[in-house]
Amino acid sequence: MRSFSYVRPESPQDAIRAFTAAGAGARYVAGGTTLFDLMKLGVERPAHLIDVTAIRGLDSVRTDGDTLRFEALATMSAVASNPQIMRDYPVLSESLSLAASQQIRNMATVGGNLLQRTRCMYFRNGAGSSSTVGVYPCNKREPGSGCAAIGGLDRGQAVLGQSEACTAVSPGDWPVALTAMNASIELLGPAGARTVPIADLYLLPASTPQQEFSIKPGEMITAITVPKTTAGRASTYLKIRDRESYAFALASAAVALDLDGDRVQRAHVALGGVATRPWRAQQAETVLVGQKLTPELALAAGQTAMKGARAGSVNAYKIELGAQTVANALTTAFTRRGR
């Protein structure tokens, strides 16, 4: 790892000024659980770190009014254990509490978590750091070098949204839940503040897999808002992993149901672990609307969610697993109705 400068501004404006002044190679860092890790791997090589965690008053969780508002520096553990979120939006709290470990959740922020980068093994290996061995091409890490995952070990790779250039899975859980719940992201940058729907934050890899987010240089996430909905109560986040805890998803589903008795009035379905970005499954939602939720309907919705999926050499199981994950999540959410 090469040396870098490090500053801890105390206001968003100071942070943005520091970023702009630093010029090329500047990065914001909050909890650092992704960035510091990737720096050790040689994947990220910032020249200047602007630590935003000294900014005061940017870590509140607001549940009054029409929207939930999570300021960017609230830690994952703080939001996960918020009693109101646990009660009224289990999909949100579960997506956080099933991620990483409590130590990491105490460090990582809900804003920074949105920018977590892929766990693709070819992306993480091969940047020539002391932590890794070998040289592996990766278009996301080194544009134009090729994608070794295509034709390589692809058990963990995406089956939805991949391109000829990249099949890396979007790793997050919280972003999947937020995608299901129509969240918006508040950004602040040199050109001022703006808000984008979460769907617009994440880019498909297409031919430019190195561009993962629609955030402009110098912009930082300041808050996340989620429109309040009664669907929050009948919701869940189901995460299927290679072990029972402390692992990334092979497949995950964030679902929430607005119900009239046993009938679905409105459904929220998003998937993780199977796609190159948090994956909203609108067609699956349509399948559910107006219907009585049965195990058969849940599975049909799951299968619809995976429509168009394309497998590589050994990851076809993700197509079946994704469908079953959605189905089980819907069943769990349904049992939470009328709580």
């Binding site: 870098f4 490090y6 510091f36 470990s101 409590q102 990491i104 805890s245």
Partner: protein, 156 residues
């Protein structure tokens, strides 16, 4: 080099640090506290768990510069040195360790697990202790130790 001022195990420390230095390497190589262990250096094993302002964190993924003006507690600061912390005692009594390498991290995580209120059931302990890998496989003893220590900690 940055100048760092923090408190470690209740004692003020003040020293220059490289911006690249992790809290783990600061504790081990600069402060000479060898109890906190490096098992992966990438946030994947939990052996480096310490408390910062009473919250358990991974010191390997914490930039040392981030603990400016904060309180760091390591395994060396958990008890007064004369008697064992109830969690340490319970680890001994339940043989919740073998090689002992992950043990300081397990104990720091376990103490926090109880304080957070996440040690109320066996399942909850297992889940909230899953960030600490014990390759010797002492999980049965670790869960038993936490169940034994939790009520004693609440009395203290």
């Amino acid at each position: 080099m940055l100048s760092l001022n923090a408190r470690v195990n209740g004692r003020p420390v003040s020293l220059p640090v490289d911006a690249r230095t992790s809290l783990l390497d600061l504790i081990r190589e600069h402060l000479g506290l060898g109890g906190t262990k490096k098992g992966c250096d990438h946030g994947q094993c939990g052996a480096c768990t310490v408390h910062v302002d009473d919250q358990r964190v991974l010191s390997c993924l914490t930039l040392a510069a981030k603990v400016e003006d904060r309180d760091v507690t390591t395994i060396e600061g958990l008890s007064d040195g004369k008697s064992l912390h109830p969690m340490q005692k319970a680890f001994v009594d339940n043989d919740a360790l073998q090689c002992g390498y992950c043990t300081p991290g397990q104990i720091m995580a376990a103490v926090a697990c109880v304080k957070e209120g996440n040690a109320k059931s066996e399942d909850s302990i297992r889940e909230y202790m899953s960030g600490n890998i014990c390759r010797c496989g002492a999980y049965v003893g670790i869960v038993a130790a936490i169940q034994e220590a939790a009520p004693k900690m609440r009395q203290d």
